[in-house]
């Protein structure tokens, strides 16, 4: 078989189960203390700095990184467990999640030593927030159309242009961004982009909030006007960012956050139908649980591949494609089934409020982090079609 993709049935080791208990206990305490309400996914949680610090103090940020940078040298599977418990509890993770998942690993790989020593321990302590500066007004899926310029000057670069859709830029301390350092070449239109570490809240950076259809503010436009970035903030190879950007994708695409964003409506539906569901509700719930279980097994399997040092780009893309399509459909399927819930269900209002929010959230799920169409292109390449 040439095209077969294997997802070995990895089991989470015993120490993960221990850790899971610790995370659940911690989250239960936070909920009891009123830090957040797990039944209200639609709150504004952009600013939960104290919660971030407490998660950091537990050693649950930068878990897989070297100890000298503040990490714990634990496995991807342990990090996986922490991520999924946080997601399922609807914990306010936005402030630290991007740094933990993506920015930290990029710095570990490409930043100069003194920058790693300065920044990574602060990520691990939950003190700082990162944003990702890839998209531009005329460059989303087609990353290589990015135009924001980094012009060489004495001791660094001057940045001019606009990034857009930048999640959390309004609260971020840093951004990892790609800027154009040279024009693309005839042979390689991917040439000429460079990755930079940007310190936010500096002269020459203006952040303009953009509202989302959920009623929340998460997106921003970030305008750079002669913003100066020193030489030692270049990450990796000048003009070679495309190689760096693509190798990180497996981490971004296969985690539990790629199918659990609307999960809460499923729990709430089970609560609403009660212990003796009618046949239609039982069947609907059974199918959704089977689909969820299957995706999770695939996602855990990819975490196992990452742990084993592989680069499962195609497998991760498959998990994100199936996972995001599922989490996008989930609120609509739950809505179908909720039509049969008794008027007297005690959590009826909670379920309706959650559905309202999840249905508004759904359209973005197959866009963020690379669209379905782009992912399917990557899978097709993996199948040898292009």
């Amino acid at each position: 078989m040439t095209a077969a993709l294997r997802f070995d049935p990895i089991r989470l080791p015993e120490k993960c189960e221990q850790l899971r208990k610790e995370v659940r206990a911690f989250l239960a305490e936070e909920i009891a203390a009123g830090t957040f309400d797990p039944n209200k996914p639609n709150r504004e949680d952009t600013d939960a700095p104290e919660f971030s610090r407490r998660v950091g103090a537990k050693g649950w940020l930068g878990m897989t990184w070297p100890k000298k940078y503040g990490g714990q040298e634990r496995s991807f599977l342990e990090r996986y467990v922490v991520t999924e418990e946080m997601r399922v509890a609807n914990a306010p993770t936005r402030r630290f999640f991007v740094a933990d998942r993506q920015s930290g690993p990029v710095l570990l790989k490409y930043a100069p030593e003194h920058i790693k020593m300065e920044i990574l321990p602060r990520i691990c302590r939950g003190e700082i927030c990162f944003a990702i500066g890839m998209s531009e007004p005329n460059s989303g899926s087609d990353l290589f159309a990015a135009k924001t310029r980094a012009t060489k000057t004495d001791g660094g670069y001057l940045i001019n242009g606009t990034k857009i859709w930048t999640s959390s830029a309004h609260i971020a301390d840093y951004m990892i961004a790609i800027f154009r350092t040279s024009p693309p070449t005839k042979e390689n239109r991917r040439h000429g982009l460079t990755q930079f570490l940007v310190k936010m809240k500096q002269p020459g950076i203006k952040v303009n909030p953009i509202g989302q259809i959920t009623g929340q503010y998460e997106f921003n436009e970030v305008v750079f006007t002669d913003h100066f970035i020193p030489d030692d903030h270049v990450l990796g190879e000048v003009d070679g960012a495309w190689k760096q950007a693509t190798s990180e994708l497996a981490y971004e695409r296969s985690g539990p956050e790629r199918f659990l964003e609307t999960y809460y409506v499923l729990t709430e539906l089970v609560r609403a139908v009660g212990p003796n569901p009618d046949t239609r509700s039982a069947e609907g719930i059974g199918r959704l649980v089977a689909q969820l279980h299957t995706m999770r097994r695939m996602s855990v399997s990819v975490a196992g591949m990452l742990q084993a040092g592989k680069e499962p780009v195609v497998e991760a893309s498959i998990v994100k494609d199936i996972g995001t399509v599922w989490e996008q459909q989930l609120p609509h399927r739950v809505r179908d089934l909720a039509a049969f819930v008794e008027e007297t269900a005690t959590n009826r209002e909670t379920l309706e409020r959650q559905l309202d929010f999840a249905i508004k959230t759904a359209p973005k799920l197959t866009i963020q982090g690379g669209t379905t169409e782009v992912l399917r292109g990557i899978i097709a390449r993996g199948l040898g079609l292009r």
Partner: protein
């Protein structure tokens, strides 16, 4: 599941490749390939893989047997290999030695019941029993007043009404009318018909996953050969995206099926976690058979809709396998009830239990 480092699977794949190459089978209108294939499989001890040595089998592990079923799915093998393996496994649960030759399982649907009468005879009707017509013996799970029993029955004692499933394989109705079994023993403590149905369902899931792997493979190959509008059709983005979705369905089926197989192979009992795994596998693999199969046909165009092309041997069989040992609707209802009984706050702990 590992392909290369598994001796059981290697042996089976070699036999399938030699004697059950789908193209050859497809061109053979008299099914004359079946006898030599069955003989080779039997000589290699594969149909009784799950029967311990002391009961006349080859004593392979559950894990190896499951891998073998996945390989059988990749070749869409139309002999009662899975059925005989399951029958041998069922008999072994009660310490009953397995006879030689083809066997099948009665009942093969969760809704059908065979009962044990006071005089030790078996009665009842079972529909959709795969390969009942080809079987020399039935492994029967029946219910008596003291609980479940497992019996070995001479197939000629049953009344068989022939039927064909969607995949053109025998799927028959078996009626037992006061039939005296050859051997009958109590099922082990706690063993119920549900266990048998889950086990059968996982076997079918692995076969479906195998068939989808094969469909992905031939669809990718076909798209790289077929030319339209002066291009290989694999160069059209719409076709690429369809194949990417097929790859996703194939991967999901394989992941669900191998995960459930692994769960059963390592579990001490059929607890809730195993139930989740096995029921989910049957549900998700059946959904994948529907979605994946239709994409494979789409990619092949009209040629794939002909009896001359091998595609239908995989696609129709994968669709047919959905119905055995409980359809996806059946298991979805049961799984939904299990989840509801455990309660909302126990859903995530169940999903995250493995």
């Amino acid at each position: 599941m590992a392909e290369s480092d598994n001796i059981v699977v290697e042996t089976a794949e070699k036999i399938f490749a030699d004697l059950a190459d789908p193209q050859t089978i497809n061109n053979d209108k008299n099914n004359s390939w079946q006898a030599p294939l069955w003989q080779a499989l039997s000589e290699a001890g594969l149909p009784l893989a799950w029967v311990p040595d002391d009961l006349g089998g080859s004593g392979a592990s559950l894990a190896d047997g499951f891998a073998l079923l996945n390989a059988a799915g990749r070749f869409a093998v139309a002999v009662p290999l899975a059925e005989t393996m399951l029958a041998g496994w069922l008999l072994a649960q009660a310490g009953i030695a397995a006879p030689e030759g083809e066997m099948t399982i009665v009942p093969a649907s969760p809704k059908d019941r065979i009962t044990l009468d006071a005089d030790g005879a078996l009665s009842g009707r079972a529909r959709g029993v795969p390969f009942a017509k080809a079987a020399k013996h039935f492994a029967v799970l029946a219910h008596g007043k003291d609980g479940a029993v497992i019996a070995l029955v001479d197939a000629s004692k049953g009344r068989i009404e022939s039927g064909l499933n969607v995949g053109y394989d025998h799927s028959d109705t078996v009626t037992l009318d006061k039939v005296q079994p050859i051997t009958i023993k109590p099922a082990p403590e706690g063993f119920e018909q549900t266990n048998l149905m889950l086990m059968g369902g996982v076997a079918r899931s692995l076969q479906i996953a195998g068939a989808l792997e094969a469909m992905l493979d031939i669809s990718v190959r076909y798209s790289n050969e077929r030319v339209a509008f002066e291009k290989k059709i694999s160069k059209f983005q719409a076709v690429q995206h369809n194949l990417a979705r097929l790859a996703g369905e194939s991967a999901a089926a394989l992941a669900a099926a191998t995960s459930a197989a692994d769960a059963i192979a390592n579990a001490k009992s059929f607890n809730d976690e195993v139930y989740l795994e096995a029921a989910s596998a049957k549900i998700r693999c059946a959904e994948a058979a529907e979605k994946g199969g239709s994409i494979a046909h789409q990619v092949h165009g009209a040629i794939g809709f002909t009896m001359e092309h091998i595609l239908h041997r995989y696609s129709l069989r994968a669709l047919a396998w959905r119905d055995d040992f409980g359809s996806e609707s059946h298991w979805a209802v049961e799984l939904g009830k299990l989840v509801a009984t455990r309660g909302a706050d126990e859903l995530w702990p169940l999903v995250a239990s493995r």
